[in-house]
């Protein structure tokens, strides 16, 4: 069984550019969340989607946006990149929103470097 897959694995962008990160959840998982992990810190919640609707949003500026597609895959977009956006971006999926007994399964992440 394939786990949560993310692409690309590494990315280097210039300040002011835009980036799109992609995530495919585990088959059957309808809930996808995005987290940002800056080096040396714990992951910070960005977005959660369930059944193609945004169900939660963390404390991130409007430069960050996301969507979920009918096949439950998801994209995270970041516009007008800043140096501070450099981080590991993690996608996680879960079987059912609020399902007890199930934590999120995380993908391997996309390492974004903004120069």
């Amino acid at each position: 069984d394939a786990g949560v897959t993310q692409s690309p694995t590494h990315l280097i962008k210039t300040r002011g550019q835009q980036v799109t990160l992609r995530c495919s959840p585990i088959s059957g998982h309808k809930s996808v969340s995005w987290y940002q992990q800056v080096l040396g810190q714990g992951p910070q919640f960005i977005f959660q989607y369930y059944e193609k609707e945004e169900r939660g949003r963390g404390n991130f500026p409007d430069r960050f946006s996301a969507r979920q597609f009918p096949n439950y895959s998801s994209e995270l977009n970041v516009n007008a990149l800043l140096l501070g956006d450099s981080a590991l971006y993690l996608c996680a999926s879960r079987l059912v929103q609020g399902a007890r007994g199930y934590g999120y399964t995380f993908g391997s992440g996309t390492r974004l470097t903004v120069v």
Partner: protein
């Protein structure tokens, strides 16, 4: 706003020793998760704790949850080098809409 704290943030221990990592959180929740992260890698699920008094064990690691004290512990028994990693606790908010993670405990087990 839910806050999750971990103590200690850095831990260096000798192989064969025992130690406990603490995770405190600020609001009521009965769902707590422990993850492990190796350098440059993603998060690996270790334990899912879903009720007051829950205790889970896997190998040299044992996790427990006290929802009244808003405290979870991760106990390490007879540490080995392979346990060197960063350990995160995470608390479930809003019925699973998102997790709030602690800052992590960076564990280094020395021979």
């Amino acid at each position: 706003e839910l806050k999750v704290e971990q103590n200690p943030l850095f831990l260096s221990m000798q192989e064969g020793k025992n130690y406990t990592i603490y995770c405190n959180y600020s609001t009521t929740s009965d769902r707590l998760y422990w993850y492990r992260q190796d350098p440059g890698k993603s998060l690996e699920s270790l334990f899912v704790l879903l009720s007051n008094g829950a205790v889970k064990q896997e190998g040299r690691l044992m996790a427990s949850l006290d929802t009244k004290a808003r405290l979870s512990t991760l106990h390490i028994t007879a540490a080995v080098h392979d346990l060197s990693a960063t350990y995160f606790c995470a608390v479930d908010m809003d019925y699973g809409q998102n997790f709030v993670f602690g800052p992590g405990t960076r564990l280094s087990v020395l021979p």
